[in-house]
Symmetry: C2
Amino acid sequence: MTALDDRSVQPTVTSGPIMGSQKVYREVTDPDSARTLRVPHRRVGLDNGSHIDLYDTSGPYTDTDAAPGIDVHAGLERMREEWVRDREPVDGAVTQAAYAKAGVITPEMRYIAAREGMDPEFVRSEVAIGRAVIPANRCHPESEPMIIGKGFLVKVNANIGNSAVTSSVAEEVEKMVWATRWGADTIMDLSTGKRIHETREWIIRNSPVPVGTVPIYQALEKVDGDPASLTWEIYRDTVIEQAEQGVDYMTVHAGVLLRYVPLTARRVTGIVSRGGSIMAAWCLAHHEESFLYTRFEELCEIFRRYDITFSLGDGLRPGSIADANDEAQFAELRTLGELTHIARAHDVQVMIEGPGHVPLHKIAENVRLEEELCGEAPFYTLGPLATDIAPGYDHITSAIGAAQIAWHGTAMLCYVTPKEHLGLPDRDDVKTGVITYKLAAHSADLAKGHPRAQEWDDTLSTARFEFRWQDQFHLALDPETAQSFHDQTLPAEPAKTAHFCSMCGPKFCSMKITQDVRRYAEENGLSTVAAIDKGMRDKSEEFADRGKRVYLPMAD
Amino acid sequence: MTALDDRSVQPTVTSGPIMGSQKVYREVTDPDSARTLRVPHRRVGLDNGSHIDLYDTSGPYTDTDAAPGIDVHAGLERMREEWVRDREPVDGAVTQAAYAKAGVITPEMRYIAAREGMDPEFVRSEVAIGRAVIPANRCHPESEPMIIGKGFLVKVNANIGNSAVTSSVAEEVEKMVWATRWGADTIMDLSTGKRIHETREWIIRNSPVPVGTVPIYQALEKVDGDPASLTWEIYRDTVIEQAEQGVDYMTVHAGVLLRYVPLTARRVTGIVSRGGSIMAAWCLAHHEESFLYTRFEELCEIFRRYDITFSLGDGLRPGSIADANDEAQFAELRTLGELTHIARAHDVQVMIEGPGHVPLHKIAENVRLEEELCGEAPFYTLGPLATDIAPGYDHITSAIGAAQIAWHGTAMLCYVTPKEHLGLPDRDDVKTGVITYKLAAHSADLAKGHPRAQEWDDTLSTARFEFRWQDQFHLALDPETAQSFHDQTLPAEPAKTAHFCSMCGPKFCSMKITQDVRRYAEENGLSTVAAIDKGMRDKSEEFADRGKRVYLPMAD
């Protein structure tokens, strides 16, 4: 009996399309295998008859006919199973990096290219040089391929996982579905409590996005929470157990060296990474380098067999503004750079985790050094928080840093919820954290000039300008909240087409005048400012004719 | 009978200290007048016996003995009345700029210096060259002096005001008290509905912070909402009416020139400023430049008599990402630059309003151009929003831009609430908006290296590291929310001193180990990393002695 046969677990997952959207699958043919790839998008239909297709992470749960027929005991369709089965290893390696280096464009790469609106060859070349990674364990065939790299859309990770204090298996499955519904590109299962293996099995079998873990957490459970009792053998067996389940990327704190620990002694907040503190404790207890560092090549060989991506952990990241960019942090980063090159030599994909708490003026240096030391491996940062003084609002303090660091080149952002530093996020916190990070990521996509990013902003702003309220709501990252905020002041149905809102009222709406100006220009075929200026003079007379009212009655 | 005699208005205002804080007044002597200035601070007392004094905008409402004795019918104490009365004009001018240029350090400047921890002579010199302004109408003696300039703490403005749709006088007074309680440095009364004069009177008489307005809104009410019917005389009389009431700064959209209006015709969202659209409508209707522009010097003479500060409005600011940094926006900015120099020649203080909606990579240019064209007059921006796609979360999209632009030199940020683009903010939205902007402003203070900014972060992070939970809550921008989030998972009183929290539980807390490391180092008087490293080896043995447990039981 597998975990999913356990009928005592009855997850109820959210399903059905997002308000105002429908799921569409665009079909792409893979010329090598002649397979048809079905690439998901969130299509927002507009009142003016057009539509826009947005990147979609939510899996089959948002299919139009999904509600309520999803059987979580069956798990998702194993879409990638044949792809994985049918291809030959390259020099014994089955990783996306190995194929990319050999010049092979995998179905995953074609799928990603269609998702991102990029050329498949660009996807391949970015993976080949290690500037992008495709986390896709061969044992997680249910996942929809996605890519993490500075040349692509900035991605967002959401952490879930039960702890000793709260949460059940069913709750965690729903949190995964919920987080991906709002846009989480990957999720990390950070469970530390009971039923850790079963929880993960449920999550992976039902997850349309890559799943990451920190294996040292489960290893620590196996030694009853005593870091000094950890051994390579216990850790290795835990990694293999998780690899077989299909974990797509694993955080490994292999850069915490013994000699770096004293560098944290004068810090304001010392070591704030769980994994970092576990490994520091091990190093202190044994007074030698950790097995993560000394056995790193053996770990690479395991990762290579499954195509697991390294997420090299920043165990010494700063936990406060005072500790940002210090010697402990950058010493570890240099070691992560060495490990990156070792992993790449094994054809294993690598990304690098980053801080944490960093003031705005010290953010760019983090990206510059990471790229220099780690051969441009994708950077994956937690925020960073731009100040420490706002517990309860750290989704915002960190979104400020996250947008900034992503603009400079961070490829994936780990979300922070309003409960950071204070407690465990609930369902609402998960949604708030994901939406906050999606808007930060999109702000960076705009600043980086991603070819398809601004279309979304322009479509929404045009709807706003044209008083297409429903379109504005449907185009929002969170349509339900946008509409409910509007309806708190003007709930009646006619307000959805009104040419004003409660902010300024009908007399003070600033958007109407430009509509008049523009309509006039278009009707008269004017194409230059000088010509429009002529139009202005006519317009002046027209205004007088209308009784000098700019804002016509609503019925107009 | 004045407005405040009207007993049908019964504002109930929030009073009493912020949780965990007490109001203290530091006494400073003004050597010129021998007066004692009482400068307010929010003092947070800590469990370890120390305390920190924070900048405080909340006025007497948070005095320890304030609750519930504040009589809003009496108005606040007229602290500045004597200061204003006793000083001689300089060449006929009574503005802070005139005194500063004459080398006079006013009591307002000394008060500000004590508030900000700066030298009084620095305050004077910044005002003299126009790089900072002190909005302080002689007719608003109740206000506590404050300064807006890039050399000082970044300030936050909160907009309040009734509209035709909702809100009463009493509600607006409470919104003012509420917004300043959470840190609003100025408030703008943007009322457009009924009882506009009375609402403003109530607000000003009870406001400890400068009050700004947009006089064209009231002028438009006087002509029944028809922009084309506006005249210089109606506008002038409105300005004088508001000046006599004590409005400290006024937004004037004098840069909207006739020839700029066609530049907005091809925009995605045209003109989105209310004042800008009113003036554009006037220009179109009359086909000539507005009276704000043609009568600007007369306006300067009025402002000069009261010491009202110009806030030169950006009527053509971009309302979408697509329209950022376009010719319409920068054409108007050049005109604002010309007007700045005219106002300064009249010894009138000036700040410049800025956008709006701007992607991250176009933010710095806004500051650079503003400083170049407007002689470094303080920049006062609305956000900007870094993306358009998140209605319902625009306090966050705009905080991302606000932190960025303030780091580059913006002196004051106009807040944005979660209801932006959707509806009118309620009490909770006002608080969320203010707290969000305070953390954005503080992030910029850190990045700019304000001498006292980081002390707050370090004090809070030290409390966090030392598991002083109550201190962490009390030091937060919003202590109540921080504590309530913590208590949702661990409500019991012992959890307030526990050496762990619900996030990781007792076994996984990363903060404990560094405490051990640091304590050891201090006890042994070790001062270099090498010496600490020696300590590490001893520590290794000590760990073994303790049974290799890093995390000791709570009772330890």
